[in-house]
């Protein structure tokens, strides 16, 4: 005997088709329709939800307590937390906030997830960007700097998302898959890119191996890693980070951002916004992000 299952809630089962083919439960109105239980080719229940994902690798090493720029009292940690929260709150007008997820990872000599939420969850949980910024600051630990560990951790998240559709290890949803975005590369090829971006910012150099051993995303068809450096631009750590990032597939410039001036703080905020929206790759993408 055929049993019919609701596509919105597989717990809703019926011995025969309803008169209009929909699940009669009020919460399923217009959304859940009935399929034959054994017919998995049509069944929608359990189908992966499409989301965009940003992995924010946030340097919380001790040096982040220092002032960001000469003749400016602002501390780097406060600027970063403020820019990140401001950038995320700038996404309030976005139409698909429920499907845009951010995994906030802080790293010093340790690497830990501090939050995994959709943009919609963040906007709902915190009344304003200032409160979210305070939450971020409260999690900072100010230890050493292990950039390689942080990058490896981000690659694990990337693989779990792309290959398994499972972010539950990080406090996120399971049964998900990336929204796919189509781009035209600089040389005229069309590529399909998963909507995941990894943004790492730091102000120093790796203190464990004293070098960045490589970019774990470089082997992917499209490298989704973006790097930002807090400093003057001549530091060893800056050169090291810049040397591992790829060229933007659309514009052919480094996927790298230097924050070396108080005027660039706004850039940092826009960068957090772009990455949190899982889009863009480089400073030109950033300039074009809603510029027109």
């Amino acid at each position: 005997m055929t049993t019919y299952v609701c596509t919105n809630n597989p717990a809703h089962k019926y011995p025969s088709m309803t008169v209009d083919g929909f699940c009669p439960q009020p919460e399923c109105f217009g959304v859940g329709f009935l399929v034959e239980e054994q017919n998995t080719s049509i069944g929608i229940s359990g189908q992966a939800k499409e989301i965009g994902l940003c992995v924010l690798l946030m340097d919380v090493s001790g040096s982040m307590k220092a002032t960001a720029f000469p003749n400016s009292p602002a501390q780097k940690d406060l600027l970063v937390a403020g820019s990140a929260s401001g950038g995320i709150f700038d996404l309030a007008p976005m139409t698909n906030k429920d499907d845009a997820y951010i995994i906030g990872v802080m790293f010093d000599h340790n690497t830990n997830v501090i939050f995994t939420k959709s943009v919609s969850n963040i906007l709902g949980q915190y009344p304003n960007a200032s409160d979210f910024s305070k939450f971020l600051i409260s999690k900072f630990t100010y230890g050493g700097t292990d950039i390689n560990q942080a990058l490896s951790f981000a690659k694990q998240i990337y693989d779990d998302f792309i290959q398994k559709g499972d972010l539950s290890k990080y406090g996120g949803p399971s049964n998900v898959k990336p929204v796919m975005q189509t781009i035209l590369t600089k040389n005229g090829d069309t590529k399909i890119v998963p909507n995941i971006r990894v943004l790492i910012y730091t102000d120093g150099r790796d203190e464990v191996l004293e070098k960045i051993t490589g970019n774990p995303f470089a082997q992917e068809e499209i490298d989704v890693l973006m790097g930002a450096f807090f400093g003057e631009g001549q530091e060893e750590g800056c050169t090291a980070l810049k040397s591992i990032v790829s060229k933007c597939p659309i514009h052919g410039v480094d996927q790298f951002f230097l924050i070396n001036d108080p005027n660039r703080v706004q850039t940092l905020r826009k960068l957090f916004r772009m990455a949190s929206g899982a889009s863009g790759f480089c400073p030109v993408c950033l300039a074009q992000d809603r510029a027109v």
Partner: protein, 303 residues
């Protein structure tokens, strides 16, 4: 049946009048013997559209375009889905006026115009939908480049300013396109540029076609003081030919799982009943939603 017969005569007269108004080189494309014979099949077409939440340019039409042309021997349909939240260029005189929405519209216009000049012989070619679409892509590229010829100083200044603001040397516009042809005998030729879904019913069986998420791009390039549109090196068009097709439902990706809904219902209900409840389905997406429905019915005495 009497009313149907009168409608048939009226339609044939109108169609012949239309044909007589076409330029000389477009005459007699459809021959009288090809005109619809209501004693066999009729094709009913409907377009359903609803807009998603509006974005920056709230007063403009949405990014989706949907259309059908039903001729006596063939029914044509198309769906285009311009990329939302993409650049929008418009100078004061609207000499420069480009967006992904307009790209979708322009492609649809070219496809419609191409249909009018398609001969019966051409349409019997199984690759015609792909050839027509390729032809439209080339025409749109030429057309947009033509608008850049001899632009005024004001338009030139406008473009210069836009490129300075954007700090780049290129601006992209893109859209998907799905175009199909359903013959009276039930042969469906359809070409996809992108991921617009298609539901097809063939007798008791049905299928859903979803192709990869490619898009037709036009890239506005700045080279010194010169501006030119270019496109992808290779167009990612996928074509299918299916026989004995009774129902076609083509949509933009905003319709979500509507094709699956129709397919699930097809096992228990005739398509006419499903059609009457399509509006009750909620795709749960924030996109524009467009559907083209073509249903080929054998006319019986009860009609």
């Amino acid at each position: 049946m009497g009313i149907r017969k009168n409608l048939s005569v009226l339609f044939n007269r109108l169609f012949q009048k239309h044909m007589s108004n076409l330029p000389e080189n477009q005459e007699n494309i459809v021959k009288p013997e090809d005109l619809l014979d209501f004693s066999q099949y009729q094709c009913i077409a409907e377009v359903m559209v609803s807009a998603g939440p509006r974005k920056d340019k709230e007063t403009e039409l949405g990014e989706d375009v949907a259309g059908v042309v039903v001729s006596p021997t063939y029914a044509f349909f198309w769906i285009a889905d311009g990329t939302s939240e993409s650049p929008y260029l418009r100078d004061e005189q609207s000499k420069i006026y480009f967006s992904s929405r307009l790209l979708a519209q322009e492609l649809a216009i070219r496809f419609r115009e191409r249909i009018w000049v398609a001969s019966t012989e051409e349409l019997s070619n199984k690759d015609i939908s792909k050839e027509m679409l390729q032809n439209c892509l080339e025409n749109v590229l030429q057309s947009w480049n033509k608008t850049l010829e001899n632009i005024t100083d004001e338009s030139h200044k406008y473009l210069k300013k836009i490129f300075e603001e954007r700090q780049g040397t290129s601006i992209d516009f893109s859209t998907t396109f799905l175009g199909g042809i359903l013959s009276r005998s039930g042969t469906l030729q359809v070409s996809f540029y992108g991921d617009s879904p298609l539901f097809v019913k063939q007798g008791e069986s049905s299928t859903i076609i979803r192709e990869p998420n490619y898009r037709f791009f036009l890239r506005l390039n700045k080279n010194g003081d010169e501006y030119i549109f270019t496109t992808s090196k290779e167009h990612k068009i996928v074509s299918h030919v299916l026989e004995n097709v009774d129902v076609v439902v083509a949509g933009s990706d905003g319709i979500g799982k509507l094709p699956e809904f129709i397919q699930a219902q097809s096992k228990s209900f005739p398509f006419r009943e499903i059609w009457n409840r399509l509006h009750k389905f909620s795709p749960q997406t924030n996109d524009d939603k467009s559907i083209c429905i073509l249903a080929r019915f054998r006319v019986t005495k009860s009609h």
